[in-house]
């Protein structure tokens, strides 16, 4: 993969239905998000869901980042390899209030990261809920180092930015011994 100066970089945001991918892209994007939502044809716990992509952009130091929120349903598996190819990183989101989604999310993550050399972090959303799994416990479930898993609120800009910050820090080998609290 060639990283050409000035060429937009790709950040992929994946995860199960209801994890907060659309919200995360909307929170992080500096431009209006192009959302491709449609009414769900099956009971997925909410009325609308992403059917193609949520697309937003973020400009950092003159470098444009393209944010792609991807559909969470299993039937879109075929797209994952293509999506993460050459990406700056992958952010996998799971809702800490929905432990029933952990196993499929772990399957998605392991499928992608065992086949594609893409840096990744795991965001555990809905940390403002009363009954929610903590980032550390989700890290234990996923078998990941704790510094690679963050508890976040996808509606909070600082929280969403911290995810990107951690993704970049880990690529440089920074922040690996820090307690991470948002």
């Amino acid at each position: 993969m060639d990283y050409e100066q000035g060429k937009p970089l790709k950040l992929v945001i994946a995860g199960p239905v209801g994890a907060g991918k659309t919200t995360f892209v909307q929170t992080l994007s500096q431009t209006e998000v192009i959302a491709t939502e449609a009414e769900a044809t099956e009971d997925i716990g909410k009325k609308n869901t992403t059917v193609a992509f949520d697309f937003g952009t973020l400009m950092l130091g003159g470098q444009e980042l393209h944010l792609y929120g991807t559909p969470g349903q299993d039937r879109f598996n075929f797209m994952w390899d293509v999506l993460v190819e050459g990406a700056l990183g992958l952010v996998l989101l799971v809702a800490g209030t929905r432990p029933q989604d952990f196993a499929p999310a772990r399957n998605i993550l392991e499928y992608i990261t065992s086949r594609n050399p893409v840096p990744f972090v795991l965001g555990v959303t809905r940390q403002d809920s009363d009954r929610v799994w903590s980032a550390d416990n989700v890290a234990a479930y996923f078998g990941l180092p704790t510094q690679q898993v963050l508890g976040i609120n996808a509606t909070d800009a600082q929280s969403a930015q911290q995810v990107l910050l951690r993704l970049l820090e880990l690529q440089l080998g920074e922040g690996e011994d820090e307690e991470f609290v948002i």
Binding site: G61, Y111, T113, N116, W133, A140, Y141, Q162, L164
Partner: protein, 235 residues
């Protein structure tokens, strides 16, 4: 913060991995023959087990209860973190018992790894459970650079589904782990390694090849600096 869920969605093996370094009580509602199980745990040491409020003292019976949990996958669970004090502690290592029962766990389709997910040897040091030794002796030499159920089914006389189940079981007892194509620590560069141990014993993780297409450090540094400025120097 909480640890909760349903064994219909999480294998008990996974739940045990999450709670084993913590202290508290795990409640498993109607999970054992319709009865509620309570496990008092202190840093991987099982201190007491109750079934519908009655204590279970015999290690063999406790092993049977855990075996039932990993083979039946039913019942809601929640873990209450707290200091555990028991008059007559059992002092059984949860991870030891789990290693004995996990190899025979039944697992639902949605818990199995994707057929194309690649695995490498993990850091487990110790004996391989008897029920897995034959498959392990065939799979282990093929793990080197990472293998999936699809790869294994093409090289060994087993179906893809049988290999998905086997990979799940080998992972449950700590013999293998998912490969990270980015490298051993996902972000760092690691040299590939080969391991060759006799069947029945395992040690050492095979590292994934280092990533060849990570973003240049200068680019990442530039992005990181800009992001920190955007965030107002909060870190």
């Amino acid at each position: 913060m909480a640890i909760f869920g349903d064994l219909a969605h999480h294998t008990f093996t996974d739940v045990a991995k999450v709670i084993r370094q913590q202290s508290g009580t795990l409640f498993l509602h109607r999970a054992y023959q319709g009865q509620t199980v309570e496990m008092l745990l202190s840093n991987d040491v099982l201190q007491a087990v109750f079934i519908d409020g009655f204590p279970v003292m015999q290690p063999v019976k406790i092993r049977d209860v855990l075996f039932y949990l990993v083979t039946h996958n039913e019942g809601r669970y929640e873990f209450e973190e707290q200091q555990v004090r028991v008059d007559q502690p059992l002092n059984l290592l949860l991870s030891d018992i789990m290693r004995q029962v996990a190899a025979d766990a039944t697992v639902q389709e949605d818990q199995l790894p994707h057929a194309e997910t690649r695995f490498v040897a993990d850091t487990y040091v110790g004996n391989v459970p008897a029920s897995l030794q034959e498959k392990w002796s065939r799979i282990q030499p093929l793990l080197g650079a990472g293998v999936s159920a699809v790869d294994l089914s093409q090289k060994l006389p087993y179906s893809q589904q049988e290999m998905r189940v086997a990979l799940h079981q080998l992972r449950a007892v700590g013999l293998i782990a998912p490969q990270r194509a980015m490298g051993e620590r996902n972000f760092g560069a690691s040299a590939p390694q080969q391991h060759s141990q006799p069947a029945g014993q395992a040690t050492g993780r095979s590292a994934a090849p280092a990533a060849e297409n990570a973003a240049p450090r200068s680019l990442v540094k530039n992005l990181l600096g800009s992001l920190r400025r955007l965030m107002g120097g909060s870190r």
